[in-house]
Symmetry: C2
DNA sequence: TGTACATCAGTGAACGCGCGTTCACTGATGTAC
DNA sequence: TGTACATCAGTGAACGCGCGTTCACTGATGTAC
């Protein structure tokens, strides 16, 4: 994007300016964690960043532009999860791999919760830029899962009635959404540990085609 | 709620007024379907309802109040889904029951998508009224599913590593969230039919402890 | 090694729109006799 | 069966705050010689 190199009035952006831009991004992320999107104001962002409204417009056209930038950078972190699918979960260490993935996913979501939430809202409301950002982030993970389902079906481990891509999307959806319920789950007595174990169990069963049977690790 | 009986200025609400209130609710739901929450204005609601801003405040303290009322009534419709759990899915008609539930759920979500989305957003942002509304709607379904998992475990059909309540919550989360991805799934070639079949397959496998094996229906 | 000039970066202060909100009023409906 | 009065319901018009946005300016940093 060429906009990265120029400020609103056409000035070239140097390192000092980059730092200011970064402060605005960080401030937005921070406010998003505290309050909701609906209360997010330009003035508050600049106050939080220790700068002025006029400065904001040097770097962003409007609040949506900051949100989109945050979404994109949060999305990049999702790519790290791909490593957990470098090999299939069909062997004896499958359950451990499933657990590792769930752990990583929970960590990822925890770190970027506020931003991902608004990204998803915007995407669902039909904004194409946010939609693209979401797809770009989630698709590689979904594809990796879908590939495993296909191979599992070829090996006779997984029910052929499940469509690989839809199955993978369903698993990602489950993870994404469930973390929103974490608080309620806690009140009902579900610990973080047993949530992890349950999610890993469902994933393992669905993507690798077998049950944990017995715990090991 | 006593507020149902009185307008903002203390007047008693008769049937004509109830109709106006209803029009405001309907108008809000309609606007919510067209645009997002972030563009929802009192003035637009009243214009859509064919009335005036002043009238709005006779019935609702603010926009949040309308949204909450809509959330609550949408939530009531979720109760109808409970019927699909009146008996367990362990018999030969289990797969058919799973499919029927998925169908019903997809229909429910389709009808109330816009409202449920904002309800969930508000709930996740920490608003207790919306949180309660969500819990009130989802909990009975989750409990019904969890009961089935428990019985499945007792019968040796389901992996004991899965915590019943968390498992049920995960299934609901999957359904809720996946429907947001429906459009993308369509673009990737997943039909509504095969989505239904896949979701039913995962649910059946997770809640009843077995695979479809062969299609029947 | 200092000075002048160009460019980068930040902002105070104001403008004005849009929207939430309210008040004082008109109109509609119901009911008593 | 009509008239008067009470109550229910709706709204025009205005007020004013809050916020997005911009302009003309000051200050900071870099560089040429």
């Amino acid at each position: 994007m060429a906009e990265n190199l120029l400020a609103a009035d056409g000035r070239v952006i140097g390192s000092r300016a980059q730092a200011t831009r970064k402060r605005l991004l960080d401030a937005t992320a921070k406010l998003l964690r505290r309050h909701g999107v609906l209360e997010l104001k330009v003035v508050d962002i600049t106050r939080e960043a220790g700068t002025s409204p006029a400065t904001f417009y040097q770097y962003f056209a409007d609040v949506d532009a900051v949100l989109l930038a945050l979404s994109r950078s949060a999305g990049e972190n999702e790519q790290a999860l791909l490593a957990l699918f470098s090999s299939d979960w069909f062997g004896p260490d499958g359950p451990a791999k499933a657990r590792a993935f769930v752990d990583a996913y929970m960590g990822y979501w925890h770190d970027h919760q506020a931003v991902l939430r608004i990204r998803n809202l915007k995407a669902e409301e039909g904004d194409t830029a946010f939609r693209r950002s979401r797809t770009r982030a989630a698709l590689p993970v979904i594809d990796a899962m879908a590939g495993m389902v296909e191979r599992g079906q070829a090996a006779g481990r997984i029910d052929d009635a499940l469509e690989p891509f839809a199955t993978a999307a369903a698993m990602v959806a489950m993870l994404e959404r469930l973390l929103a319920y974490q608080k309620e789950l806690g009140q009902r007595g579900t610990t973080r540990e047993s949530l992890r174990e349950t999610l890993a169990g469902i994933l393992y069963q669905t993507l690798a085609g077998s049950a944990f049977e017995l715990d090991e690790d």
